[in-house]
Symmetry: C2
Amino acid sequence: MAGAAGGRGCRMIRGAQIRDVLDAAHNVLFDCDGVIWNGEAAVAGAPEVVRLLKRRGKRVFFVTNNCTRPRENYVQKFSRLGFTDVAEEEIFSSAYCSAAYLRDVAKVQGKVFVIGCPGVLKELQDAGVPVAEQGDEGPDVSVYNLPLDPDVKAVLVGYDERFTFMKLATACGYLRDAECLFLATDPDPWHPLRGGRITPGSGSLTAALETASSRKATVIGKPSRFMFECISSQFDLDPARSLMVGDRLETDVLFGANCGLATMLTLTGVSTLEDAHELQQSESPEKKDCVPDYVVESIADFLQALEE
Amino acid sequence: MAGAAGGRGCRMIRGAQIRDVLDAAHNVLFDCDGVIWNGEAAVAGAPEVVRLLKRRGKRVFFVTNNCTRPRENYVQKFSRLGFTDVAEEEIFSSAYCSAAYLRDVAKVQGKVFVIGCPGVLKELQDAGVPVAEQGDEGPDVSVYNLPLDPDVKAVLVGYDERFTFMKLATACGYLRDAECLFLATDPDPWHPLRGGRITPGSGSLTAALETASSRKATVIGKPSRFMFECISSQFDLDPARSLMVGDRLETDVLFGANCGLATMLTLTGVSTLEDAHELQQSESPEKKDCVPDYVVESIADFLQALEE
């Protein structure tokens, strides 16, 4: 694609320039939070953008590090926010991909101990991956007698509002066995909430467990390549004809760079144009890979290019 | 001292060699866990070593990153394990020093939000530092409506077996204000338990909060210099006449090096002689600072030197 050939220009584009970029892309991958919607509000114009991209023959995918919902709930959310034509098969969440990794890549022979939310548990269940009991946190349970299930062969960490010290200590107990796999759904350190608040992300809980266990997690979500491999295994994508659109430089844009995709930052979420310029000045190759090829104010800017 | 002048030799010593090292030291600083005791069992000979050191006119201090007890409980534990002559004033825990830091150095003008155990809360209370309510974690409380007390001006993280996601999110909320101080009692990633188990340490919980808040904590415990400054402010110690004895290279020995003390590793705790040799081979100056001047099997080896 033009952008990939021309290097990571961090080029603010609009109108006809956007049309050129979309003409070159056969596949468009969108992050969700901060790109397609913010909380329970669709980004203005986003439903129409998705509809028009599909009408133009593009394949559209949604690639999200948010592990809180199973795919079927994402379909409901898309529908609720006015996206009428999004199918479950087009949605790749870190929860879904983690379950796919455990079943198809790691081929785990045993149970998984989960620090995570219902979305993670449901995807594991749908994939047929057995999950260990969370254990009792009654008054008799302490760090000295935490029960450990000998059938546990993997620990998976995701966003978990019911995270406790005893869950952390239990996971730590399993990871003492070097054969026990250690996975994280995604590396997101925090997530924006409405009103300027934030909530700790999976990456925060993973950091606690990495420190306590002296081990490093295998991260499934962006910027790891695995989510793209997961899509490719089902849809045969050409990276050179694919565009990744996201709002976080260190996850979405780096993911695109890691997978050889053209990358676009949209300014309706976490990262700013100043953040991108700062990374552009860096000498570190890893930071330079976080610089997008293109920048748009919002994916609503696609509308003009698509409607002409 | 001989050891400090001769560089960090990682020299295994016994008998007369130990006597020379002790002769040169006017002050002896001991870590507790893995040095003086393991759990509820004193290291064999340790009570007698402390008694004899004092009889020889040495000043003895106990410098522990363990924040679970207030100083008065340490006195009780010393007494229970056969140490009959240890005074509260000789015990410097990370909980006590954190309270001293907040009151005397940071001079915090407001409340402290604490992730920590009763030992931390008691020391803050004794120091007259006001503590914020932990908040209600009832069914109506979520990350969207966590109550934040406007009087909180500092967050302190220590070992907390009642750590929850909501505590993490609350601390994260306070740290959004760049003026809010961020302290950690100690950096210990985990602690050994009997039976080969481990439990996550303060450093693990701090890592979660550092990741979620995109900030770095000021660490009070070893290897930070502050605990030595805290002792010095009360006892006027000459670092060149002081010996630090510990079982963890990355905390105890590095602490000694950071403060200009002679350092001794004892092999009754976490670190091994192989760990020390590995660090000795490293090119990194920080790692080289974790290499002790001396190594003993146990502080029981002091007995022969002291009894002659």
